[in-house]
């Protein structure tokens, strides 16, 4: 039981060390994770074998589609950007003690607002992109803010309301892309129109560094990483973050200490919504992509981004590698599907892999707890960082 690292004088240094130190049970967690991964891969292989596919080739394809070359990295990073944005937002709200699970809807609302601005406002030049991003953040922030308002006025459980609002958001977007006066694409001749918007004008697209098929770092990723770092700093280093943490840990004490809990709680929820909305705008304005609003634009990025945050235990910096991992699974999975493995099976493989990453740290923590026969708070608190290290 020497979880706390040796005394290091400076607080910052110590924190850094704690981040780098795999922890006393780090190797166990790593081993368990590897084991779980093997089990997940074995299960997946069995399923793939049923369809007559080759498991080895599938693993190869997973790798090839996500990391083998720059093109693959490009698409991995393309997924990572919105995932990270969503996850960072989820970290903010979770920190404040309000659990937002409505990111999927907030992503949609963000994309809707961005699309509306991009297509319906006569803004030209680079300003357009800025306005689009701002509109996405504002709209999705307000959408999440509604949940906060409902909580404040009527005590409506935030988890429940954010979840229900997701389904509402889906229909709102479906409605918007089916209404010509709203956002439905314009008709060409007699051809049928799809439930989608027109493509964005070029000035509404995010830029990128590098060009396909070389490594292309999309603007969204930069936005996401900046957001992650800013939020990480804000949470751990600023009075605002301090108050936020206080609110999350003990709202009564926070109120007592003069924190404006309603405003701060509402702000946290709105920020998490705004970041999810940004993710929606990033999906929409992605330098590679369809650049139109479609009902399926969120592609479960909201749910997966929430998973990222949960796996990263609500730490924005830890969310970066986890988001990368999820990006790898998505792009690798897409590639895997292109090798002829049924796409549904790819979803199964992804889900199994996520479980393989989530479960082992807790298993190890549990075994530890059992072994030390200590079922009280202390060990629980120590278990958390171990879990994080394993994932990061």
């Amino acid at each position: 039981m020497t979880a706390s690292s040796p005394a290091v004088p400076s607080g910052t240094g110590r924190r850094l060390l704690r981040h780098l130190n795999p922890g006393p049970y780090g190797w166990q967690t790593t081993a368990a994770t590897v084991l779980a991964l093997l089990v997940a891969l074995a299960l997946s292989s069995a399923l793939i074998a049923i369809t007559g596919g080759s498991p080895a080739a599938s693993v190869q394809a997973l790798f090839q589609g996500s990391m083998a070359d720059w093109t693959a990295w490009t698409s991995t990073l393309l997924y990572m950007a919105p995932l990270l944005l969503v996850a960072v937002g989820a970290c903010v709200s979770a920190r404040s003690g309000l659990f937002n699970i409505g990111q999927e809807g907030q992503v949609l609302i963000g994309a809707l607002a961005a699309a509306w601005v991009g297509l319906r406002l006569a803004i030209t030049g680079p300003v357009l992109l800025v306005v689009m991003l701002a509109a996405a953040a504002l709209a999705a922030g307000a959408w999440a803010g509604l949940s906060s308002l409902m909580y404040r006025l009527r005590g409506v459980n935030v988890v429940v309301s954010t979840m229900l609002m997701t389904f509402v958001a889906q229909q709102v977007v479906a409605y918007a892309v089916n209404m010509p006066w709203l956002l439905q694409e314009s008709r060409v001749g007699n051809a049928p129109v799809s439930p989608q918007s027109n493509p964005l004008p070029p000035s509404g697209l995010l830029g990128s560094f590098g060009e396909y098929p070389d490594l292309q770092i999309n603007g969204g990723l930069i936005l996401a990483v900046v957001a992650a770092v800013l939020v990480a700093v804000a949470i751990t280093r600023t009075p605002w973050g301090f108050r936020l943490t206080m609110l999350g840990r003990n709202p009564l004490a926070a109120k007592h200490a003069g924190v404006r809990v309603n405003a701060l709680g509402g702000a946290a929820l709105a920020i998490s919504g705004a970041l999810a909305g940004l993710a929606g705008a990033v999906l929409l304005a992605s330098p590679v992509g369809v650049n139109r609003l479609q009902p399926g634009i969120a592609m479960n990025i909201g749910w997966d981004g929430l998973l990222v945050a949960l796996v990263a235990r609500n730490r924005p910096l830890a969310a970066m590698p986890v988001a990368l991992l999820f990006g790898v699974l998505r792009s690798g999975g897409g590639f895997l599907a292109a090798t002829g493995v049924p796409s549904f099976l790819v979803d199964v493989v992804k889900a199994l892999l996520v479980l393989a990453f989530v479960a082992p740290p807790v298993v190890v923590a549990l075994v530890r707890r059992r072994r030390s026969s200590d079922r009280t708070a202390g060990s629980r608190r120590e278990a958390t960082p171990v879990a994080e290290e394993a994932i990061a």
């Binding site: 049923i50 009527r154 459980n157 309301s161 389904f167 929430l306 199964v348």
Partner: protein
């Protein structure tokens, strides 16, 4: 066609649409009273729907299929329970992953297999079926529907009258206190999830081998979430929850029947109606007092 016949038709249809929801709602209600916000309900229903059709096709008996559906629901409940309430993986993570897993798996399995269609038989209750208006809707149904007559009071009794239910409620309200009292909090929650799995499985299986007779990809189409909305709408009371199911089922039936009667309605609005209603119910009635206090919170001994 007389107006009475129309009403009777809509009622029949509403009941058929309600039944799968009602089964699952009984399960979700119990799980939520024990403090689990069970998002994987959708997975339970969908998995059971698939399992029931596959089994029915293999054995030639829709009833066996129904049993298989219940078993699959139990299995998913077991997995969820152990991950969330033994290994302490966040329950939403578990739910989201299980939903993705089951959707992927069933969609995949249906592509590599083909099943014969089987349906459980219809039972019509003599005399009662002749009651005007409600006779046909209520008393000419596939037999699992009548299981509801057992399941609903049983669920109520379990929660409100049995010792197990008392402990469940304690666990959903104040797990720390329940623990100190000697109740195995996480065990109770796992058991509640098993019950939930069994009933959601029954609901999903009924949908497949009762209503439709076959399986197709994502055939539950979000019914799990509707049920969760119903429990919220019902403010964690069984009667109101079931009322919510009936409301949602009837609304769907109306939506599907009214065009045939010459009326049309905005479809988006109707799709969101259950969720909006649930939100509205929470806004209008002070449901916060009714909510299990520890809903969605994991229990770890020693943490406050």
């Amino acid at each position: 066609m007389s107006a009475a016949d129309d009403i009777s038709t809509i009622l029949s249809s509403g009941i058929r649409l309600t039944v799968p929801l009602a089964f699952a709602a009984c399960g979700e209600y119990l799980a939520e009273r024990a403090g689990t916000m069970n998002i994987s309900l959708e997975a339970m229903m969908l998995g059971a729907a698939f399992g029931s059709v596959a089994t029915a096709s293999a054995t030639g008996s829709a009833t066996t299929g129904l049993v298989a559906g219940v078993l699959i629901g139990l299995l998913i409940g077991f997995v969820h329970g152990n991950l969330a309430h033994r290994l302490e993986v966040n329950t939403f993570v578990v739910g989201l992953v299980l939903n993705a897993l089951v959707l992927g798996l069933t969609s995949f399995l249906i592509t590599i297999s083909s099943f014969d269609s089987h349906q459980v038989s219809q039972v019509s209750v003599p005399w009662l079926r002749d009651i005007p208006l409600i006779g046909h809707p209520l008393f000419v149904e596939r037999w699992p529907v009548y299981l509801l007559i057992l399941v609903i009071p049983l669920t109520w009794w379990l929660v409100e009258r049995s010792r197990w239910g008392l402990e469940l409620r304690a666990v959903g309200e104040q797990p720390q206190a329940a623990d100190v009292t000697g109740i195995h909090v996480n065990l109770r929650r796992r058991q509640a999830l098993l019950w939930c799995g069994a009933l959601a499985g029954l609901g999903g299986a009924y949908l497949a081998v009762g209503e439709v007779g076959s399986f197709n990809q994502n055939m539950t189409a979000g019914r799990g979430y509707i049920v969760i909305a119903a429990v919220i709408f019902g403010a964690w009371r069984l009667g109101r929850t079931l009322l919510g199911c009936v409301l949602f089922g009837l609304a769907d039936a109306m939506r599907l029947a009214l065009p045939a009667l010459g009326l049309t309605l905005n479809s988006q609005l109707l799709v969101v109606a259950p969720y909006l209603l649930a939100l509205l119910a929470m806004l209008v009635f002070a449901t916060r007092n009714r909510e299990p206090k520890a809903l969605g919170q994991p229990f770890v001994r020693g943490s406050t």
